[in-house]
């Protein structure tokens, strides 16, 4: 059993989650059974009343009152069942979402589009809701509740009970036949849905570019084509899924026909038990209600399986392990030894056999044309991915043995394309060290020359800025990101193009403050700014991922 589950990661994920939530899932099932029992009892009372009307037996107002009371009880039980189902779904989703989001954050940055990641953490996790809130309870009820109804009918009239049992056995056969093809198609539908939403976020981000090249109309048409593709795929899933509900209706109609003929013929010869005849007919809707709920939820299960197939590879990935850091040392000696890395198997090595050594208080500038591997080295030092070969040592200890998050505790890092959050400038700076005091944030803002332009904004440092830093120029955004590095106050500083997009006057100011940032720290800067290289004499020249021998570097 467990071996089979091991072969299908999606199914394994779903059954593991169901096992965890077993206690919460039992509640709606038991409440549903109680509601069915109340329904059976009420049908019996109504049958007695009807038989009385037809001149068989004598039931009265008491029976009517009892039927009304049972009806109310059943309504109450159903409400309770729905509430309990929703809670079970909630709990299961919360567990999955927490685990998944943790894994998404541990992935190599920019390996997966942000829109796709968010769709996984929100839409795909939400798509699992029906599995726990409706599918599992309804699947259990679809087995037990019709059996209860059939037994009740059988107690009244054995042949009617047998007709119901036979019908109950036919239902899953019809569903299984139409369900197999539907499961395959369902997976395809989810891929299409994900492509559509990933594509939209991508195009939405670049909407200004599309509009400037007057391509918005073409993109709208392409989006329409993608939607049509989604429709065709979805209809293919539904054609089969609906076939299974059609087969259910066929069985239900056939049962009704069989029971009507049986009791019609019995009635012609003077029915031995008129109450039983009416009881059996009244039970038909109650018998098929759990199957209908199951049939609706069957679609939910397919959705959940599609979602689980997308989530399982991420959840199954081994969690990034590694040693913990006892404390952040006051100073760091960085040694990089014969480092090689190929981030994309389809491309040549991004860096090859790179070695250098930076003692505390020194700054090393990595220089070279764009694409020469400067950023790759910084990303490896940040633990965003693991090098294919070579060694990184901090104070003589193997840095790669540390958990990546622990390694980053030592570092203040400025990415090449820093992203500003939709928050105030102050909150954006504080990201680097949430517990920092206002005074510390303001000092960092001053050091990075943020205060210089923030003073002219309506609310100073408390001015809200949009996602992507709307309202700030490229240079201003960079300085906000630089302020983060100041606030971080870490022994190792890694800066990726800290003065790109700056005009010479601002660059000179930023360089002054960079010097202050670098004092007493171990610093690696990737840059091809001539002004920056002039201030920091120690330069490592890179070309196509390799270190250029020192003499040639000096010659240029």
């Amino acid at each position: 059993m467990s071996r089979r589950a091991g072969r299908d990661p999606a199914r394994a994920l779903l059954s593991a989650a169901a096992r965890e939530g077993r206690a919460a899932l039992m509640v709606p099932i038991l409440l549903g059974l109680a509601a069915t029992a109340a329904g059976i009892a009420q049908a019996w009372l109504m049958a007695t009343l009807l038989a009385t009307l037809l001149g068989h037996g004598e039931a009265g107002a008491g029976t009517l009152a009892a039927a009304a009371a049972l009806a109310l009880l059943q309504v109450g039980l159903v409400v309770a069942q729905e509430t309990a189902s929703a809670r079970a779904g909630e709990a299961a989703r919360a567990t999955l979402r927490r685990r998944l989001f943790g894994r998404l954050l541990a992935e190599t940055p920019s390996a997966r589009p942000a829109g796709e990641g968010a769709a996984l953490a929100v839409d795909q996790v939400e798509a699992m809701d029906g599995y726990f809130a409706r599918w599992i309870p309804s699947a259990a009820l679809a087995v037990v509740a019709p059996l209860m109804v059939a037994l009740a009918a059988g107690a009244a009239d054995a042949l009617s009970g047998m007709i119901l049992v036979a019908a109950g056995l036919l239902v899953p056969v019809g569903m299984a036949v139409s369900g197999i093809g539907a499961a395959v198609a369902s997976r395809r539908q989810f891929e299409a849905l994900q492509r559509l939403s990933g594509r939209f976020l991508d195009r939405m981000r670049g909407l200004p570019t599309l509009v400037l090249f007057r391509r918005q109309e073409d993109e709208a048409r392409a989006l329409d084509a993608a939607a049509q593709e989604l429709r065709v795929r979805t209809m293919r899933v539904l054609r089969l899924a609906f076939l299974s509900s059609g087969s259910l209706e066929l069985v239900a109609a056939a049962v009704l026909g069989c029971l009507a003929w049986r009791h019609g013929i019995l009635a012609a010869e003077g029915h031995p038990n008129p109450v039983a005849a009416l009881f059996c007919l009244l039970l038909v809707p109650a018998f098929f209600t759990p199957f209908r709920a199951f049939s609706t939820a069957y679609h939910e299960r397919m959705s959940a399986q599609g979602a689980a197939a997308a989530l399982a590879p991420i959840l199954d990935a081994t969690a990034p392990g590694g040693l913990l850091l006892e404390e952040v040392p006051p100073s760091v000696t960085l040694v990089v030894d014969h480092l090689s890395h190929r981030p994309d198997p389809a491309r040549p090595l991004a860096i090859e056999d790179v070695s250098f050594h930076v003692p505390p208080g020194e700054t090393l500038v990595l220089s070279g044309p764009s694409g020469s591997g400067k950023s790759t080295i910084l990303k490896l030092l940040m633990g965003f991915s693991r090098p294919d070969e070579g060694r990184i040592a901090l104070n003589g200890r193997d840095a790669l043995a540390l958990a990546p998050a622990e390694l980053r505790r030592l570092v203040a890092y400025l990415p090449q394309r820093p992203v500003l959050l939709r928050a105030t400038i102050r909150e954006n700076i504080r990201l680097a060290r949430p517990e920092a005091s206002d005074a510390a944030v303001e000092a960092a803002a001053r050091s990075a020359q943020v205060t210089a332009f923030a003073e002219s904004l309506p609310e100073g440092l408390d001015t809200p800025i949009g996602e992507g830093g709307h309202g700030l120029s490229g240079g201003q955004r960079l300085r906000v990101a630089l302020a983060r590095a100041f606030l971080r106050d870490a022994p190792l500083v890694l800066l990726d193009e800290p003065t790109a997009h700056l005009d010479p006057a601002t660059e000179a100011q930023v360089l002054d403050s960079l010097r202050r940032l670098c004092t007493g720290r171990t610093v690696v800067i990737a840059s091809h700014s001539a002004m920056l290289r002039a201030r920091f004499p120690k330069v490592l020249e890179l070309r196509e991922g390799r270190v250029v021998p020192q003499r040639r570097a000096v010659a240029t």
């Binding site: 107002a61 009517l64 919360a94 929100v122 195009r203 939405m204 400037l212 109609a253 950023s375 971080r488």
Partner: protein, 550 residues
């Protein structure tokens, strides 16, 4: 009621699909009536048999059962296929309509609205609209058909019984409309909470390097969890509205059932009529059972519609004139322009004037934040000056459509984006018909052809989201190639050499003349290297363009 108005507008958008939508609803009514007939015939037949003790009386009814046994499942399947096919068509229309509206309105970028939220709006809210038809209008039509049929059939036999049974059921028909306001409030806040959750999830993933660098994983997870809890609390209210509505519907149906029985027990009349009534109600319960959910669906759709229309109804930043003038040539002139991004922001330009004669090359200098990118936005008609005028080929910008302007002016903006598509597709944004040779030429001029040639898939290499597969400088040069490929007669290059090393920068600027091939150009930069040979140098300062000293 504004919710009703919003939904009416959505139905208006669906007008071209009216035939599909009507066909779906009609199939649903037929399917529901077939279901009612099935149970009523079976119950009625057996009841009459029991009452008279002979088969003859009931057989008439039972004979009709056989075709229905096959008709009902087929109608049910057809109903679901027809309604879903209609919905998907209508939704695809809505999705592209929304995209087009946003393209007209958000030209200066997502700005203060989170792009994650926009994604949520399009995908989730458009899909919530499927509930309007599938889970609200169709079930309501089917239930109404059933109640009407029931009232007519019973009315012919026993009018009092018909009233006893049909009144509570008719009341149940009103349930969706009664529940909708309650569910509406819950749905609005659920949709908002889901949007907030999505934004909380998108943000740290977009800024992943920054978050990891700050050891912010724990805080990001905690924020996502808090947003998810808030969303679940709102969903509980929605579930409660749905299940209480369901309870109300069940109570009304049971009232009709027990009412019919009470009428019979107290000697109201013909027992056979009671039996038929009982089975009719029992069958109707199936169709009516979908109504409480219809209320919730109605509310969800209204909330989705509200948010979609709100975004789609933003005023157009720079409205187009009804008919665009045609510029004579492409000399560009700016006179006395005053501009501020918002009323409470300091003005970027006070009295800006500059000229770009045909074939001229103007270098525009100034420190970052002085408004160089804002000037590009004004020239591209992404924003309109509060005062002063801009003319292109003698035609005032106010008389030109944005499309006419952008057909003549191409721009490499600072935030030029590469899309998650092939390099070729990204380049062809500027010139869809360009042959591969032209693409290579543009790449050559942007000094990136060698790198692309070395890629195993060449021009077909995918760029990744926002060009993530390339380094900053490489992505920038592909964007530069795209701007150079454009057939426009004016090219604005905003910091074209950012991300280039000094040698490549010089090489590019030296060959800029050839790359421009006689087109006019505005070169926005913070410094000159000395090889640009511009026809004019202007310096932006104090909201004006001044001739540079050099």
């Amino acid at each position: 009621m504004s919710a009703a108005r919003d939904l009416a507008r959505v139905l208006g958008l669906w007008n071209p699909r009216a035939l599909w939508l009507t066909f779906g609803a009609a199939t649903a009514c037929a399917s529901a009536l077939a279901g009612v007939a099935l149970l009523a015939l079976a119950g009625g037949g057996v009841g009459q048999g029991l009452a008279t003790g002979s088969l003859a009386a009931g057989a008439g009814l039972l004979v009709f059962l056989r075709p229905l046994i096959f008709l009902r499942p087929f109608l049910r399947w057809a109903e679901r296929m027809a309604t879903h096919a209609a919905t998907f068509r209508a939704l695809a229309d809505t999705r592209t309509w929304f995209f087009r509206r946003l393209a007209q309105r958000l030209t200066a970028g997502p700005g203060m609205t989170r792009s994650g939220d926009l994604l949520g709006r399009l995908v989730t809210d458009v899909e919530a609209l499927d509930g309007l038809y599938l889970r609200a209008l169709v079930p309501m039509a089917a239930a109404a058909a059933v109640v009407l049929a029931l009232a007519v059939i019973l009315g012919a036999v026993a009018p009092v019984l018909a009233a006893i049974v049909a009144l509570p059921l008719a009341l149940a028909l009103l349930l969706p409309v009664l529940i909708a306001p309650f569910a509406g409030r819950a749905a609005t806040s659920t949709a908002e909470a889901t949007g907030a959750l999505r934004a909380e999830a998108v943000e740290p993933l977009t800024a992943l390097e920054d978050v990891l660098a700050a050891n912010g994983e724990g805080r990001a997870i905690a924020r996502v969890e808090a947003a998810a809890r808030a969303m679940d609390l709102e969903r509980r209210r929605l579930t409660r509205a749905g299940s209480l509505g369901g309870a109300a519907g069940a109570v009304l149906t049971q009232g009709a059932l027990l009412g019919a029985l009470a009428w019979g027990v107290t000697g109201g009349g013909e027992p056979a009529a009671v039996i038929v009534a009982l089975f009719l109600v029992l069958a109707a319960a199936d169709a009516l059972g979908a109504l409480p959910r219809a209320g919730a669906a109605l509310a969800l759709a209204a909330a989705g519609a509200r948010r979609l229309l709100e975004a789609a109804d933003h005023p157009v930043p720079v409205p187009d004139p009804p008919v665009s003038a045609t510029p004579q040539g492409h000399a560009l002139s700016v006179r006395g322009v005053r501009f501020a991004w918002a009323e409470d922001r300091p003005p970027v330009f006070e009295d800006l004037s500059l000229d770009l004669p045909e074939g001229a090359r103007v270098a525009l200098l100034g420190p970052s934040g002085i408004g160089k990118s804002t000037l590009a936005a004004l020239l591209l008609k992404l924003a309109a000056p509060q005062d002063g005028r801009i003319t292109l080929g003698g035609a005032d910008y106010e008389t030109l459509s944005a499309d006419a302007v952008r057909a003549r002016i191409a721009c490499l903006t600072q935030d030029a984006t590469l899309f998650d598509d092939s390099i070729a597709a990204n380049l062809r944004l500027a010139a869809p018909e360009a042959p591969d040779a032209a693409l290579w030429e543009a790449l050559e001029r942007a000094r990136i052809a060698d790198l692309v040639r070395a890629l195993p898939e060449g021009l077909e290499t995918r760029c990744g989201e926002a060009g993530a597969r390339f380094s900053g400088g490489q992505a920038r040069r592909i964007a530069l190639a795209r701007a150079l490929l454009s057939p426009a007669s004016i090219i604005i290059l905003d910091e074209p050499t950012a991300g280039l090393d000094a040698a490549t920068e010089r090489a590019f600027l030296e060959t800029l003349d050839a790359a421009l091939a006689g087109r006019s150009a505005i070169l926005i930069t913070h410094r000159l290297t000395g090889v640009e040979r511009p026809t004019r140098i202007l310096r932006l300062a104090g909201g004006r363009a001044l001739p540079a000293m050099s």
